[in-house]
Symmetry: C2
Subunit: 303 residues, 2 copies
Amino acid sequence: MSFERVAIIGLGLLGGSIGLAVRECLPGVATTGYDADPATRARAAERGLVGQVCDDPADAVRNADLVILCVPVGAMGAAARAIAPYLTQGVLVSDVGSSKQTVAAALAEALPGVAVIPAHPVAGTERSGADAGFASLFRHRWCIITPPAGADPGQLASLSTFWEALGAEVEIMDARHHDMVLAVTSHLPHLIAYTIVGTASDLEGVTESEVIKYSAGGFRDFTRIAASDPTMWRDVFLTNKDAVLEMLQRFTEDLTALQRAIRVGDGAQLFDHFERTRAIRRSIIEEGQDDARPDFGRSDHGS
Amino acid sequence: MSFERVAIIGLGLLGGSIGLAVRECLPGVATTGYDADPATRARAAERGLVGQVCDDPADAVRNADLVILCVPVGAMGAAARAIAPYLTQGVLVSDVGSSKQTVAAALAEALPGVAVIPAHPVAGTERSGADAGFASLFRHRWCIITPPAGADPGQLASLSTFWEALGAEVEIMDARHHDMVLAVTSHLPHLIAYTIVGTASDLEGVTESEVIKYSAGGFRDFTRIAASDPTMWRDVFLTNKDAVLEMLQRFTEDLTALQRAIRVGDGAQLFDHFERTRAIRRSIIEEGQDDARPDFGRSDHGS
């Protein structure tokens, strides 16, 4: 069994990219879409993010056999309640949210009796909105599917096949483990990037213009993810609170240890720490999860 | 007055890039070079990083009118002492170190009676060694020159002209202010990146292989600068201790405030913070200090 009519609720970076990827990779599949923002709907129609942009979520989901909620995780419950009465028999509802335990609970509550299998494609850029999506976003990226207990194996297989068709590699994972893994690989990095960019702009001894001018010393790398969508990230931290606070505690302990090494002048401890972090970068590049070119291949790099 | 014979002590990323940039941008200028590591000297000769690679630092500096020390900041004093007896009358000694007050003091002590004007080109990649350098490293990047009190205006002008010829924009700054500005734009980001990469690799509940697989969620951006040269960075933190500890204290306070907002569920505070960090990214891109393409233009981004 494979899906024939996919409805996408929320037409930002993720929703738009799914629509474009389906058109490119699954040309036989029909897509409908809805976004709460009329300007986003208009732009989505112009860009052809989905086959049909609907002004009412009911129309978007009415004939769909797969509905994917692509809204901030804090809005999942409301989005599910809005479509609940209009879902067709046998439909599968999924999502793309970055935290999975809270979303699973919200969807189960809003959609009693409906098949729900949450998912999270680990892909994105710092852009958001109807202009941000592109068809190759999921290529060579992982999509983590977190089926609840008792999920239908056939529907799980169909959802996996769907994501693989868009270019992703699929991993099945427990929602609780997902939330811990993503807390360290995504949520904590975003929180820290948001923090340091804020710290830098609040200094009285160093002007913001100096921070900007000399950002090539390292700071600029943090600003990319600190430019991500504020609503999405507010919701991620509020819905994955326990795992984020746990990782933050560990990070703070490690930072305090390095701070102490600097204060007492323990060069050996600093060197040992800095030496072993190189290996991880090498592995990330070998696995194809980052660009091997020095400096991220920034255009000023020359050749 | 302009320089005719430039000696480069240390032939890694910075030293090698200066040599290549001089060859490209100042073809009339002769370059000599020395590195303490014989393998680096051999590779530097193969790549032609300088006109003549010397096996003895004395030979490299003997006829130079500009000597640039491109060694880790903790090794500046020793490198200066090694060349001191062989410097020619009227020579200017400079460097490329990332902390300036300590280096200025070390060079003044090692080179009594010699003209010293420290400098810091704010440019680099995560690569190090004789293979890392390239001629365009300094193009559109800032070079901060921190002349000591009483520096000769003619020599300062010559040094500025030299860096401008390599493509850099020059800023004159007090060494103390430099160290504070770089603590926030470069040293703190590196320390935090090194910390989080270490934290992620020490978890017992999440495997290192999971951290690598799902690094596209944000973590990978931190690994680039955490792959930088460990010796160089150990020395930076030990020599710019006061400014780094000051910035670290502010960062920790800001992180604690966001941690508290997550714990108590204060979504408004999180949103407000995340909203204002977007503007800085925009300014950095407008100033040409980073790549505007989404996702740093990573090759998987497609179009």
